[in-house]
Amino acid sequence: MQSDILKLEQLHKNFGGVTAVDNLSLSFAKGEVTSLIGPNGAGKTTVFNLITGFIKPSSGKIIFNGWHLNGKKPHMIAAMGIGRTFQNVQVFSNMTVLENIMVGRHLRSRCGMFFSSVLPPFLRLEENRIRSAAKEWISFLKLDQYADFSAGILPLGNQRMLEIARALALEPNLLLLDEPASGLNARETIAMGELIQKIKSMDITVILVEHDMELVMDISDRVAVINFGRLIAEGTPKEVQQNPDVITAYLGT
């Protein structure tokens, strides 16, 4: 029990008449990489949106490190230490790569609107701290050469990396990655796998939604399979691969 960082209890979400997430109960162990897989439209992204507060659950509980996340706004959840990326990359294309990551340091700095506009020389220290931290994350993801590029013109693979760097700059305890490898070529996918391993080694728990089964089976400690919003199997990659329900869900009856 102690080692669960995130627990979903009987989580339920209806959109109009459609049930997207159906009484889902799931625990995520601290320090592990857990993958959430399932056919298209199974409700995986909805689960992410529920955890990060973008949509409100119809019923059920989300417990993170002992705190209830129900009803919390996305920015509060980010402050509690949950970072995320998006299925359709959402880099800030109106900013440079460096500035993108500096936004990730938003919660690690505190200067408000008044002091930001009135007292800048005094703030240079904080600004420098933000900048150097952001630069560290840029180097960590090997994006140095792009630091001053506008984020919108990067190729997709780099945009995905940037999104992860930005989420890491938040220094989260839990990182939700929504299809980080989609649209990437084979070489980039391997790099993404290595990156996720590295993130894990930094004691950050990772939840992954991904369609690339090779990647999932390679790097996951546990795999949860959902279909029609319901949990149909859970276990180590090996267990899940041999589960007859999973095979049915993926191949049809």
């Binding site: 920015h75 800030f92 500035e99 936004v103 930005r166």
Partner: protein, 338 residues
């Protein structure tokens, strides 16, 4: 704040100091004072539209509130102009806050129409609430501003004063842009979802920047009242709000210097056009000031179609392109020599 901006502010300050030595005609000084007031409002509007990505076609309303607060409190209650201006700012903070909370939940077209509707309501009230605002006949005998007993009783004095406030406003705005808060605002513009996933409280930020931009407008309005010494609802109609958006858009919405450029150019445009009409008369073409609206519209349309980032950006890029070309030619020549 970056070096470019320091240079920009220094250049602008120098220009402002010199201008009254070159322009001695009170009429043109007056035009330049109105230019300053437009600049002030546009700086605020640019923070809201260009950086936070929230459109407002209602900032004329905040100018009106500032102007009427100054006018009513000084003439009817005998307040000092400074206290009245402060009260105007406080009023605008409250109004912008309560209008902003529901309005800023809206996006795009809805937000534009909601702010336009708000501006229309304020204008209708300023015309209809005769007992309060003097109705269409307005309020007269608004006292002049004075600083430490030093009265701003000439156009030159008011010119320096109004532009000093513009430069102060610009300085604050530029600081804000390059701060944590400015990045938060740009993030909201880029992607609201991503911004909030990184801990930016988008609701609070949008309301704060809306209120801040309204404060700029309010001060601009108060200065207007104390410069012209008479106000009526005429200048605060919906068209004025639209004009502010036009200025920001023509100059360049994503750059505070662009917004400033747009405000200066479009404020001076009528004067330029009347110069032009004298010139055209020599060729037998009669230009009437009635055509001004048409010219405004045409300029705005052409800029939006061909230079969507605005004149400033277009100018900046073409200068850069010329430099690049020159560099390349020089390089080509030196390589050729080798």
């Amino acid at each position: 704040m970056k070096q470019k901006d320091y240079i920009g502010i220094a250049a602008l300050t120098t220009l402002i100091i010199i201008v009254p030595y070159l322009v001695t005609n009170d009429y043109y000084l007056g035009v330049l004072i109105f230019t300053a007031l437009n600049c002030l409002a546009c700086i605020g509007l640019c923070l809201l539209m260009g950086y936070a990505g929230q459109i407002s076609i209602g900032h004329g309303a905040f100018i009106a509130i500032g102007a009427y607060a100054s006018a009513i409190l000084t003439t009817k209650l005998g307040w000092s102009p400074w206290a009245a201006m402060g009260f105007g700012v406080v009023t605008v903070i409250f109004v912008a806050f309560f209008v902003g909370i529901p309005t800023l939940r809206l996006k795009g077209h809805y937000l534009a129409m909601a702010t336009l509707g708000f501006a229309s309501i304020v204008h209708i009230v300023s015309v209809a609430a005769v007992g309060f605002t003097g109705g269409p006949s307005g309020i007269m005998n608004i006292p002049r501003l004075s600083i430490f007993g030093f009265q701003l009783n000439s156009d030159v004095k008011f010119f320096y004063f109004s532009w000093a406030i513009v430069i102060a406003g610009l300085y604050l705005a530029v600081n804000l842009i390059y701060s944590r808060v400015g990045r938060g605002l740009k993030a909201i513009h880029g992607s609201q979802d991503a911004a909030s996933s990184l801990g930016v409280n988008i609701t609070v930020y949008k309301i704060k920047i809306f209120v801040l931009s309204a404060i700029y407008a309010s001060i601009s309005g108060s200065l207007y009242a104390h410069y012209v010494l008479y106000i009526d609802p005429g200048p605060f109609d919906v068209m004025h709000s639209v004009l502010l958006v036009t200025m920001v858009a023509v100059g360049g919405i994503h750059n505070i210097w662009g917004a400033l450029t747009g405000a200066i150019l479009l404020s001076l445009l009528p004067e330029f056009l009347s110069f032009l009409s004298d010139y055209l008369q020599g060729f037998g073409i009669r230009y009437k000031t009635d055509y001004d609206t048409l010219v405004y519209g045409a300029i705005l349309l052409l800029i939006m179609l061909f230079l969507p980032e605005g004149l400033f950006d277009g100018l900046y890029r073409s200068i850069k392109a010329v430099f690049n070309l020159k560099n390349r030619l020089m390089k080509g020549r030196s390589q050729g020599a080798v």
